[in-house]
Amino acid sequence: MARKYDQLFETVRQNVDEVDVHALKAAIESTSSKPIVIDVRERDEWEQGHVPGARFIPRGFLEMRIEEQVPEKDQPVYLYCAGGVRSIFAAQALQQLGYENAISVSGGFGSWKDAGYRFDIPRQWTPDQRQRYSRHFLIPEVGEGGQGKLLDAKVLMIGAGGLGSPAALYLAAAGVGKIGIVDSDEVDLSNLQRQILHSTARVGEPKTESARTFINQLNSDVEVVGIQERLNADNVLDLVADYDIVVNGADNFATRYLLNDACVVLDKPIVDGSIFRFEGQVTVYKPGEGPCYRCMFPEPPPADLAPT
């Protein structure tokens, strides 16, 4: 039996291109192209560590999943396993599916580690998290890597009102790890017609507390930081500095200029939204990449023209 396997392996190997881990590293670091690297090992092996940027498709699922993940069949696809054997057969399978450049990495992840190259250890998901984010894991644009980014992200919401309510709820549901909420108001019955983060039972509570209650019930992975203050020139820089992205749901010009200036100074993007009667607007102010609020409105309009 062993002889037959040896013969099979040698025959397959002769028809498969191989590179060593040093060539793989050079390919990953080359600026001209971003190669596709696929880890064909089993999940428990992947969880111990993998080549940075590699995608995880266990050998048993390779033929079924590869065309969805890598539709372009002329691109180089580097395959690695633990020692360079399974990846030979994986490369043969891709050749049979029409991939013109399926390359097996000889020595596999073992050689990569022995060479002292950096590797990533994937985030460990609890069974609940695997279930909660399972639909995200299935989307190539999110996946486990993207979900990790969401959980590591820190978003500051200015206002827990009409715009902040739905935005905060969806961000919390999606698993954004830290949500700061700046709002000095309390929940009023007249808010509930549109501010879906709050409830009748919580009328009179600070909006930051009401928001925390709802978000904790929705997703306990999310850390809610309530800041029951008005945003002003004294606190804006310290608040914004702790976050990656600011979502503006405040409806006045002073706050827009204040936030804009702080975010230009601190180089943070603002996702701005506004509503006037039956019309709404959304835009993103990202310093250095596009206009800021003052590019469009260098100075505030006269008070009698300003909608509140």
Partner: protein, 80 residues
């Protein structure tokens, strides 16, 4: 309903920025008219003379701290 539409669009932009996916609304203003049921996208450009982020702007933390946003919000024009 309108705040829900706009707030969820904002959340979507946040997710795109975090994931580094797609084309966020940088330099574009998306408008939604609920009565017409129509979306429009307007291109908006940077202003080289912008007092906050323009070529000659020199906005810093101390200016933000010292400004009275409730009264003026007006930055001195660069070069003044």
């Amino acid at each position: 309903m309108l705040p829900g539409v706009i707030g969820v669009l904002q959340a979507t932009e946040v997710i795109k920025l975090i994931l580094g996916q797609g084309d966020p609304l940088i330099g574009r203003l998306l408008t939604f008219d609920a009565l017409e049921s129509s979306f429009r996208v307007l291109r908006v450009g940077r202003d080289a003379e912008c007092p906050a982020c323009g070529e000659h702007a020199h906005l810093d933390a101390s200016q933000v701290k010292d400004m009275d946003y409730q009264i003026s919000c007006a930055l001195p024009i660069a070069g003044d």
